[in-house]
């Protein structure tokens, strides 16, 4: 059993001192070349992505960016992407597929941005397209939930061959506040929501939603970045090596089957089709 309650884990997962996507890119990759824009409408700072080398090998890396100070927070909408962010991610993923680069994503978002312009430009459509695209990619895709994985806004970068989570990261259908407010009309019951939602890495590993849990230093990732980076680096190398054994269509097939099976064993099967 973990020594932290789910509610405490949510706090650790949101800790401002936790390494973010930009920090992971700095530490684990070389020659990062940032790529901006969705080529349709605008640049969305809440998704950071580009080409980099991982132990010498070109990869595409994409993640949510929250920003480190208020000015950056505002520029990045506190890590809540609009449709342009997801469309930028799609553009980068298509390129990765074209050039045969593995894709590594870092998940850390409260959710997709619930704004007027975001709706106007098709937030739902953008996320749906990301899910559909990721499900059929023929390059290796590894996703790591590093902080909070909030709803469809997180999933849109996480349809991967391997989904890993840091030990104290959380991943859920909605933020605990939103969950409490929808089900009990009372956002202040978020603590209670944390305990029923099964949102911890350990719960999700047991439920077959994630394939690996990465140990954090004592007290959480924010206490020792270097140790966290070492763990993530080792996990990425290992998973990449194992995915390299699968070729193109087999990668898409493995990913499809993994997500196809989620929740399948829970719902009883129907009768034979007519």
């Amino acid at each position: 059993m973990s020594k932290y309650t789910p509610e405490e884990k949510v706090k650790i997962a949101r800790h401002p001192g936790r390494p973010g996507t930009a920090d992971f890119i700095d530490a684990l990759f070389t020659e990062f070349f940032e790529q901006g824009g969705d080529r349709q409408c605008r640049e969305d700072g809440s998704i950071l992505g580009g080409i980099a080398r991982f132990h010498g090998r070109p990869v595409t890396v994409i993640g949510h960016r929250k920003g480190k100070n208020l000015e950056e927070n505002l520029h990045c909408s506190f890590g809540m992407p609009g449709p342009e962010g997801y469309r930028k991610a799609q553009r980068l993923m298509r390129q990765a597929e074209k050039f045969g680069r593995p894709i590594i994503t870092f998940i850390d978002t409260p959710g997709a941005y619930p704004g007027k312009e975001a709706e106007e430009r098709g937030q739902g459509e953008a996320i749906a397209q990301s899910l559909a695209l990721m499900s059929s990619l023929t390059v290796p895709v590894i996703a790591i939930v590093t902080g909070e994985g909030g709803s469809g806004g997180a999933l849109a970068l996480a349809v991967a061959n391997r989904v890993l989570m840091l030990e104290h990261a959380v991943y859920s259908v909605l933020s605990p506040e939103g969950f409490a407010s929808i089900l009990w009309k009372d956002a202040s019951r978020s603590g209670e929501a944390c305990s029923v939602m099964k949102l911890t890495a350990q719960d999700l590993r047991r439920g077959g939603i994630v394939q690996g849990v990465l140990k954090e230093p004592e007290g959480g990732a924010h206490t020792d970045w270097a140790a966290t980076f070492r763990t993530v680096d080792a996990a990425l190398r290992k998973e990449l090596a194992s995915l390299d054994k699968l070729k193109g269509p087999a990668l898409a097939q493995q990913r499809y089957e993994m997500f196809r099976a989620m929740g399948q064993n829970l719902a009883p099967a129907g009768k034979e089709d007519p």
Binding site: L155, V173, L183, L199
Partner: protein
């Protein structure tokens, strides 16, 4: 023998549809307030005879309006919800809704014909947990896509949903990936998917299979979006304009092919199926 079964299935559909209608029947329009004869509402498929407001209708009722007589065959009717979080009160509410609506979960799947052309249908029903998608709905949509692939049939889905079902937590979220992937596969193999959006279609359903149609259609005045209007107003701190996230607004912003009034679905779908007679099957 086949005819006998077809008649029996038809009677079953009629019975379920009657049940749906009983619930949907109304006289005072919730939109314009005008009082009209129940029969007039009924003749228009539960659309207000005065202002054209489209009242939500049940899944069987919708299928009965659209399908050729004697062609309805329900698919995967036994799929029912799981309770992976052991969420307090969920199992009881599921049972109560089953009794009230005759549904096993928020989606009904069927094989049927429109103007003589066969297709696979899935219809969401907002009376069951606001049409939200949990494991059973996700599984049903995925199986519909697979069934349609296997038999090289077009797929038509009517959405009406509050989004992912909170009570099944992360397992509901994963249904977004599952359904989007299943639809993508079906389309990659050449299948035609017509997505029909009805009031309301929001959240995780908008952000997965509902937005992926080769053809995107919606009923007039339907609320369609990712975030709900209340959440957006809280976030941006201002009132949203009249008509925001309604079908007409989505049409203006390029997210729909057309808006289809309820009484015209049969005709429009029949025409689209005829135009894709051979499908794109490889």
């Amino acid at each position: 023998m086949n005819r006998f079964f077809a008649q029996r299935r038809d009677r079953l559909l009629t019975y379920q549809a009657m049940r749906d209608k009983k619930i949907a029947r109304r006289t005072a329009c919730p939109a314009c307030g005008a009082e009209s004869e129940s029969q007039d509402w009924h003749n228009k498929g539960q659309v207000c005879p005065r202002c054209g407001y489209h009242a939500p209708i049940g899944a069987y009722y919708r299928l009965e309006m659209i399908l050729d007589q004697g062609t309805f065959q329900e698919l995967e009717e036994k799929l029912s919800p799981a309770d992976p979080l052991d969420f307090p009160g969920y199992a009881e509410k599921v049972r109560r809704l089953e009794e009230e609506t005759g549904l096993r979960d928020a989606a009904v799947a069927a094989l049927g014909k429109v103007q003589g052309r066969k297709a696979v249908f899935a219809v969401l029903d907002s009376r069951f947990f606001m049409g939200s998608m949990g494991t059973a709905v996700g599984e049903k949509i995925a199986r519909c896509a697979e069934y349609a692939t296997k038999h090289k049939l077009p797929l038509i889905i009517f959405s009406a949903s509050g989004g992912a079902r909170m009570q099944e937590g992360i397992f509901s979220l994963m249904q977004m990936a599952k359904t989007a992937a299943a639809i993508q596969r079906f389309q990659d193999k050449g299948g035609l998917y017509i997505s029909c959006l009805t009031h309301p279609t929001t959240g995780g359903v908008t952000a997965s299979f509902a937005s992926l149609g080769d053809i995107m259609l919606a009923e007039p005045g339907a609320l369609i979006g990712f975030a709900g209007p209340r959440v957006i107003e809280q976030t941006i701190g201002e009132k949203l304009p009249e008509g925001f996230q309604r079908s007409e607004y989505l049409l203006d912003h390029g997210f729909l092919d057309q808006i289809v009034p309820r009484t015209q679905w049969r005709q429009v779908l029949g025409r689209l199926l005829a135009l894709h007679d051979k499908g794109g099957w490889a």
